[in-house]
């Protein structure tokens, strides 16, 4: 009991202290660009409650759809590639180039090809977030345990069942790692695609405040983005703990950290 209390206290102490420091240090700030935290917090509700349906919800919807598309595409392509060494060798340099390309550099290309609508924004998210998922899936499928693969063959497990019980299961720790990397890329691309040319979305709203010199509102948007990123990473951790419960339990039994 006291141990868990101590843990909570440790987790809360420093963030609380930093928040208090920011609050006190900025309280009598007269700098135009760094307004008191008091005013930023006060601006939060009035700024975002009327914009929730028009700016925040569409952004989150695009993020979720684009991210889901990237995961499905990455796993869908990664499984066949991971199982075919020659095909993999042929595509490796191309994939290496595609992965190394900073995803925001592709925003102009997609604007050119698909205009500035929702399709462009979704494609930008998919095209950037797919690589970590794809490459990690390939690695995971490649490293499927030989004994398990042979066992499956002996029992005549093939097709969809083999995919489900052997390939995806064995590769899932790697796939989840890729999905975690993809999530932060997806958030970045959601914001950038909206900052470019758009009239809705969180990224657009924040840039619009900045151009209109509505500084406390802009800061409240920055904080909202931070909270969104944090919430996504908490949500992902819950998902990971559920999906990979068997894997972490196995590692604990083997005494690995």
């Amino acid at each position: 009991m006291t141990a868990s209390l101590r843990r909570v206290a440790l987790a809360v102490a420093l963030p609380g202290l930093l928040f208090a420091l920011w609050w006190i240090a900025s309280d009598d700030s007269v700098s135009f660009y760094l307004p008191p935290l008091r005013r930023i917090v006060a601006a939060f509700g009035p700024t975002w409650s009327p914009r929730w349906a028009s700016h925040v919800a569409p952004s989150i919807a695009r993020l979720v759809i684009g991210y889901a598309g990237a995961v499905v595409l990455g796993v869908g392509l990664g499984v066949p590639l991971g199982g075919r060494p020659r095909l993999r060798a042929a595509l490796e340099p191309v994939l290496e180039l595609a992965r190394a390309l900073p995803p925001p550099a592709l925003v102009p290309v997609f604007m050119l090809l698909f205009g500035i609508g929702t399709a462009m924004k979704l494609l930008v998210i998919v095209s950037g977030a797919v690589w970590p998922v794809l490459l990690n899936t390939i690695e995971g499928v490649r490293a499927v345990d030989d004994v398990l693969a042979d066992t499956c063959r002996c029992y005549g497990i093939t097709g969809a069942t083999r995919l489900r019980v052997l390939v995806l299961r064995a590769a899932s720790p790697q796939i989840v790692t890729g999905m975690r990397q993809a999530l932060s890329i997806a958030i970045i691309l959601m914001v950038i695609s909206e900052m470019f040319a758009s009239s809705s979305g969180l990224g657009y709203a924040i840039i619009d405040f900045q151009r209109g010199f509505s500084i406390p509102e802009m800061w409240s948007g920055v904080i909202l983005l931070g909270v969104l990123g944090f919430a996504m990473s908490i949500g992902f951790r819950v998902f990971e703990a559920r999906v990979l419960r068997w894997y972490h339990a196995q590692r604990r039994v083997r005494g690995e950290p």
Binding site: P15, V94, P102, P104, T177, L225
Partner: protein, 266 residues
């Protein structure tokens, strides 16, 4: 391996297949616009991109932009790595500090660095410092986490031995902490280097600080489509060079290490 060792041959085979893959991708990029699947106005044939690349390479503006990008990337990376190593070493070496900072790091790390774009614009405008703000913020976290893990990974027996022999602080750093943390540090540098390049290009593209990203934006708004693709290709090759270069560095520096470590997945 009784017969002639298959390893080099397999390596050569892979290289050939990889070259075929690259050639295939280039051919695809040449044919698709030529047969009109996509309008060549939006996706010029690969040869046109190469031609534009040649023209770019002969203009001093291109080389200046390339240098600007590299400067923002290298400076930002250097600051992030230094800060990450120093703070990570301090936090990682004390359990109490590690426990007290964990929640703060977990909160600050997922904040998308692009959220700082408006702040950078207001504070610094379209200057190098804007690029640096984004680059440093984004590439600092992976570095910090790797160093904290690396310093925390010191073998307890070795630590006790160092204590028994009353190693000085310097000796402890040199012979105890550094060897066990180095693999983590290098992985952190490699991850951070890739992220730093992404953010350098992003800042140039969105804020308009000088560099290749800005040139891409300019090429797009002036409808110089082949030049735009050529610049994107350059940025991609830069990314490949960063990845390959840091992987090679890792192999060289860690040649002494038992297993040249598998990538710590963070």
């Amino acid at each position: 391996m009784t017969t002639a060792s298959p390893e080099p041959r397999r390596g050569r085979q892979r290289a050939v297949l990889g070259a075929l893959g690259l050639a295939g991708a280039a051919a695809l990029a040449e044919i698709v616009p030529r047969i009109g699947v996509v309008s060549p106005r939006y996706l010029p044939p690969f040869s046109a991109m190469l031609g534009a690349l040649g023209r770019e390479a002969s203009s001093p503006a291109f080389w200046r932009a390339l240098l600007d990008t590299l400067q923002g990337w290298a400076l930002g990376l250097a600051i992030a790595v230094t800060a990450g190593v120093v703070l990570g070493a301090v936090i990682g070496s004390r359990r109490g500090l590690r426990a007290a900072t964990a929640s703060t790091i977990e909160f600050l790390r997922p904040i998308p660095s692009v959220a700082l774009i408006p702040v950078a614009v207001l504070l610094y405008g379209a200057q190098l410092r804007s690029t640096l703000l984004l680059v440093v913020y984004a590439s600092f976290w992976p570095m910090l986490l790797q160093v904290i893990h690396g310093v925390g990974d010191v073998d307890p027996v070795a630590r006790d031995t160092a204590l028994s022999y009353r190693f000085t602080v310097w000796a402890k750093l040199r012979y105890l902490v550094l060897p066990s943390a180095l693999p983590y540090i290098l992985t952190g540098v490699r991850l951070s280097a890739a992220i730093a390049l992404i953010l350098a290009i992003t800042a140039e593209l969105v804020i308009g600080t000088p560099g290749l990203g800005k040139e891409i934006g300019v090429a797009m708004s002036s409808s110089a489509v082949p030049a735009m693709y050529a610049l994107i290709l350059v940025v991609g090759l830069l990314g490949v060079a960063v990845n390959v270069g840091f992987r090679a560095l890792e192999r060289r520096v860690l040649a002494w290490h038992l297993s040249v470590r598998t990538e710590a997945a963070t």
